[in-house]
């Protein structure tokens, strides 16, 4: 009986690399490794792991996690110039988790979870506490199977100060069944990955439907890694690139445990021009799809097809531009945003967010989530939303004011963006004075305010076909697609760096020094006065006046004094 049950538990691994040249000449590489396990990871039910990493599986089972999304990011995805990202994450560390309804104390589980994750990924996630955790009501819906979306089971936190480096990458790679020994993961060499404009690694765990009928649950672990290389400046002004140039490695085989291992190269013709670029070696197939409202063409290399490694031992995908492409006509994404701090002085300031809708004729709503730490005291009455010179009233507002040292501000709004418009959202704040122990090291660097999150269903220009999720490439299937006419986009704005009034931390020491010196000087003279012995000294020869007088007396013949 036991052996039969063991065999039934299927798990499969798919690995995928998407290489897309960006309009500015950079190249974005997005790795996705998906482990799907046809088992129910409920509390204690499963304890025998094969492809799914045990550390994460036990975490999900022990803490009643329904869905977990962790991203560690260095750099900022410039949506305006690079286009819509396949997967964006805010700078620093982002963690959002849906818990099972059976979890009674969500806050305790959340604290425990962030501590354990901080141990697994060597990140400072243990700094997640009530002062940076929020419970969004509308922005973060479960991406996997969910019955009921009671947002009290959701926790969301961002640590914008977190620096991502090799020590976070190594444990992330260790979770892959093949490690970095075989398959696409051999390209993940830390020294190249962190020599880039943008680096984001993520872990997504969620329950999904086992099959089309959706009678049973499977668990999915997606490990994604997106990196943007600046090939334009490192390649002497040429936009040509190859795998070896970017990763200083080439591919030699697929991970033997993977059931699918593919490399996609975005070769979509830009601006209706035909065939500007050429990829070598010739791809095994060409895949056409509508991705994020755009018709895209991909050259596909199937690492599991035996023909690929027939001619040469390794695969080094190369892309050459046939003639220099003029970069002046960059396509502007339909939705993008920008944020900055305004105002002057150290008392008050203003957070300004600009949201662009460049769609020529369609308006659409967007949900904006703003998390501001408590030490910036927001004045909600100063909130203004202006579109095309007129006030734009949000159709939904959820505002939770901060409590000092307890919880941050949470502002969620549903804003309608008219076609071809810019919406400016401003809100004023006052800077609080912190206690001296609350300042982080190097307080003059400033305090980070996490990115605000924009979630929207963007209307598509081209109708999308309904495709089977299991068959389509991984980079299209993280977010559930709604219908054919629109697609889901989640964008993050820049994190803000705000200066708070910072005291002179050496002042107490200076005061002590000064006071001590004064006391010491007083003490010194008093002591001198008390201990000095006074001698009466016999005048030996008298002063200058007396001698002068005697000289005169001598001259005058008068007796001396």
């Amino acid at each position: 009986g036991g052996s039969g049950a063991g065999r039934e538990r299927r798990d499969e691994l798919r690995e995928e690399l998407l290489l897309s040249p960006l309009p500015t000449g950079d190249v974005a590489a997005t790795f996705q490794f998906r482990t799907r396990w046809d088992a129910d990871l409920q509390r204690g039910a499963v304890s025998h792991y094969r492809l799914f990493p045990k550390a994460l599986g036990r975490l999900v089972a022990a803490l009643g996690v329904r869905e977990l999304h962790l991203a560690l990011t260095q750099g900022f995805w410039r949506t305006r110039f690079w286009g819509q990202p396949p997967l964006q994450a805010p700078a620093g560390a982002e963690l959002w988790v849906w818990f099972q309804p059976t979890v009674t104390d969500v806050d305790k589980a959340w604290k425990e979870l962030s501590n354990i994750l901080s141990g697994i990924f060597c990140a400072s996630l243990n700094f997640i506490d009530s002062t940076n955790t929020v419970i969004p009501t509308a922005s973060f819906k479960p991406l996997g199977l969910a019955n009921g979306t009671d947002h009290h089971l959701l926790r969301y936190a961002v640590l914008p100060r977190e620096v991502v480096c090799t020590e976070n990458l190594t444990p992330w790679k260790k979770l892959l069944p093949c490690g970095s020994k075989a398959g696409l993961a051999v390209l993940l060499k830390a020294e190249r990955l962190f020599h880039s404009s943008y680096h984001s690694q993520a872990v997504h765990i969620r329950p999904v439907c086992r099959d089309a009928s959706c009678m049973a649950v499977s668990w999915e672990l997606r490990q994604t890694l997106a990196v943007v290389f600046d090939v334009f400046s490192s390649g002497q002004g040429k936009k040509d690139w190859s795998l070896f140039k970017m990763f200083s490695r080439t591919l030699t085989d697929a991970c033997p445990l993977a059931s699918q291992s593919k490399v996609y190269v975005d070769i979509s013709p830009k601006n209706k021009e035909k065939e500007l670029l050429e990829v070598t070696p010739p791809p095994t197939s060409v895949h056409e799809a509508v991705v994020q409202g755009d018709k895209k063409t991909y050259a596909v290399y199937d690492l599991l097809s035996p023909s690929l490694f027939n001619t040469s031992r390794s695969l080094n995908v190369q892309l050459k531009w046939k003639r220099p492409q003029d970069s002046s006509e960059m396509p502007i994404p339909v939705l993008h945003a920008q944020r900055y701090v305004g105002g002057y002085g150290l008392q008050t300031g203003e957070i300004c967010t600009l949201i662009y809708n460049t769609h020529p004729y369609r308006a659409f709503p967007v949900i904006l989530l703003e998390t501001v730490p408590w030490y910036l005291r927001l004045y909600v009455h100063t909130l203004t939303i202006i579109t095309k010179g007129k006030e734009n009233k949000p159709s939904y507002i959820h505002y939770q004011p901060a409590q000092d040292r307890r919880r941050p501000h949470l502002l969620e709004m549903l804003i309608q963006l008219p076609a071809n418009s810019v919406t400016k959202i401003t809100i004023q704040f006052e800077r609080a004075l912190l206690k001296w122990t609350e300042y982080p090291p190097d307080p003059n660097h400033g305090f980070y305010v996490g990115s605000s999150v924009l979630s929207a269903l963007v209307p598509s220009v081209i109708a999308m076909k309904d495709v089977d999720v299991e068959q389509s490439p991984l980079f299209t299937s993280l977010f559930p697609s709604s219908d054919g006419s629109s697609y889901f986009v989640r964008l993050y704005t820049e994190p803000l760096l705000v200066n708070l009034p910072t005291p002179d931390f050496s002042m107490p020491y200076n005061v002590i020094c000064l006071t001590c010196t004064v006391v010491a000087v007083c003490y010194g003279s008093f002591y001198n006065l008390l201990t000095r012995t006074f001698h009466v000294e016999e005048p030996s020869r008298g002063g200058l006046a007396k001698r002068l007088a005697n000289v005169i007396r001598k001259l005058r013949g008068v007796p001396l004094l």
Partner: protein, 495 residues
């Protein structure tokens, strides 16, 4: 002082009563033994012997054909409380015990002992059996290994795991060469069949959780040596310590719990390194092809037979023979818990523990050792806390920490009292509570607040005050010294 009391019932079957009994049956007797661990610590063991004759039912049970049947038949007639033992003395000529054996230890808490003629000989034999079935001086010393002076403890005694409230057992299959070997193991079935009965029995001692994983591309840290004669690869005994470290990095810690982890690794060597054999210190291959690491776990090498035809397509499908593997791992598990069945005199016959893998008296053996160890741990923890408090006066002991300390002390006192009364099970429970409370007190995060504010820093802040104040004092001191010296030199000048 800790006193371990073992209630022993000695039951004489007809015809086995020695001639030189001090008084007519039934009567009671006490034997004491002192186990000294170091100069300051010693444990007294006290055997409360109750001598009596058999009842009619016991006589009927002892009339069984074999010792095993007698053991099973006697089971319902005994005192079943933990830690208590029953010895049945059978006549010298009894055919119940096989030829050459004089002691038969059953599966439960009883033994059959052949009468040895005189009372003194019987006493010696009884003492041996009771020690095997409860605790020996070495097992108590191993439990208190922290207090034993260095070098006095054999390496075997340092092997067993420290007492803990729970253990996690992880079975890992290491497949460094997934391209050539597709290894499958029915770990779930094997755990249910072989491991679970043992752990069910051990659940009195601690909580256990079992899980398993498969790790690919996990290699040993040592390159095995090729042996031409046998055309195989060899891992020598002295290289084994280097094997574990690189593997351990992949094993993954148990982030979700604080219990110690027992690792059992099954290593399927790469095709280019097969077959792989482990050599012992003398260079002979180890028959089980496995070794264990004290307080860590065990590793077994599982060789895959080369395919009959070299053209066989890769990867080769391998189904692991779990019975063979689990036999080795369970033996290692017993070793790690200090339940070795070696070092017994030849006239002892131990009944095999059967499917449960553990006899009742072996469980008692564990409980005795763990109770003593827990009591020692609590006293060490509380002493360290007290020493820490003496050293660093800044530590604030909150009320809840204080109450944990009181609770720990109360529990440990009750554990000691229960031990002196011979109630092993309740003593063990009390010692567990004491460990929990004392650890909670010692590791309370509130102890760490403002811990590090040393005196030299406080002094440094006041240097601007002390230094200028010291200058006139020192100068005048120097002046006084100079004056007195001058006065001594010219005493005549003074008048």
């Amino acid at each position: 002082q800790v006193q371990l009391v073992v209630p022993v019932a000695v039951v004489f079957s007809p015809g086995s009563v020695p001639g030189d009994l001090p008084s007519p049956l039934p009567f009671r007797d006490v034997q004491e033994m002192e186990i000294s661990v170091n100069l300051r610590t010693s444990v007294t063991s006290r055997y409360e012997m109750a001598y009596r004759g058999t009842t009619a039912q016991e006589e009927a049970a002892l009339a069984a054909a074999t010792a095993r049947e007698a053991d099973a038949a006697l089971r319902p007639l005994q005192d079943v409380s933990m830690g208590s033992l029953t010895m049945y003395v059978v006549p010298e000529t009894s055919s119940l015990l096989p030829q050459g054996t004089s002691v038969y230890v059953g599966r439960h808490r009883s033994a059959l002992v052949r009468a040895g003629g005189s009372l003194a000989a019987l006493h010696a034999r009884l003492r041996q059996v009771t020690q095997v079935m409860s605790f020996t001086a070495t097992s108590i010393a191993a439990a208190l290994s922290d207090r034993v002076p260095d070098g006095r403890l054999s390496p075997d005694a340092r092997r067993s795991l420290k007492s803990s409230l729970g253990y996690e057992i992880t079975f890992s299959l290491l497949n460094p060469d997934p391209k050539s070997h597709a290894v499958d193991w029915d770990i779930e079935g094997a755990v249910n069949r072989y491991v679970k009965p043992v752990l069910d029995k051990l659940s009195l001692v601690a909580n256990f959780s079992v899980d398993s994983q498969i790790l690919y591309y996990a290699v040993l840290g040592v390159t095995p040596r090729y042996d031409k004669e046998s055309s195989s690869f060899l891992l020598s005994a002295h290289s084994l310590p280097h094997v574990i470290n690189p593997v351990e990095a992949r094993l993954g810690s148990s982030a979700a719990s604080l219990y110690p982890v027992l690792n059992f690794l099954l290593y399927v060597p790469e095709r280019s390194h097969s077959p792989l054999y482990i050599q012992d210190k003398d260079g002979a291959p180890v028959s089980t092809n496995a070794f264990h690491s004290p307080r860590w776990g065990g590793i077994m090498v599982y060789n895959v037979e080369a395919p009959a035809s070299p053209q066989a397509s890769l990867p080769l499908h391998v189904d692991v023979d779990m019975a063979r593997v689990m036999e080795v791992f369970l033996a290692q598990l017993r070793l790690l818990f200090g339940l070795s069945r070696e070092e017994l005199p030849p006239e002892f016959l131990l009944e095999s523990p059967g499917n449960e893998g553990l006899a009742d008296w072996e469980l008692d053996h564990l409980l005795w050792a763990h109770t003593v160890e827990n009591i020692a741990t609590v006293s060490t923890t509380l002493t360290s806390l007290a020493q820490l408090l003496d050293k660093i006066g800044n530590i604030v002991i909150k009320d809840d920490v204080a109450s944990e300390v009181y609770r720990a002390v109360a529990s440990v006192q009750s554990a000691v009292a229960k031990l002196a009364m011979g109630h092993l099970h309740s003593a063990f429970q009390a010692s567990k509570e004491a460990v929990t409370s004392s650890e909670r007190a010692f590791f309370d995060p509130s102890l760490l607040h403002l811990l590090y504010f040393p005196d030299d820093q406080k002094f440094a802040i006041y240097i601007p005050l002390f230094l200028p104040m010291a200058v006139p004092i020192l100068l005048s001191l120097a002046k006084i010294v100079r004056e007195t010296r001058q006065r001594k030199k010219e005493p005549t000048k003074m008048d």
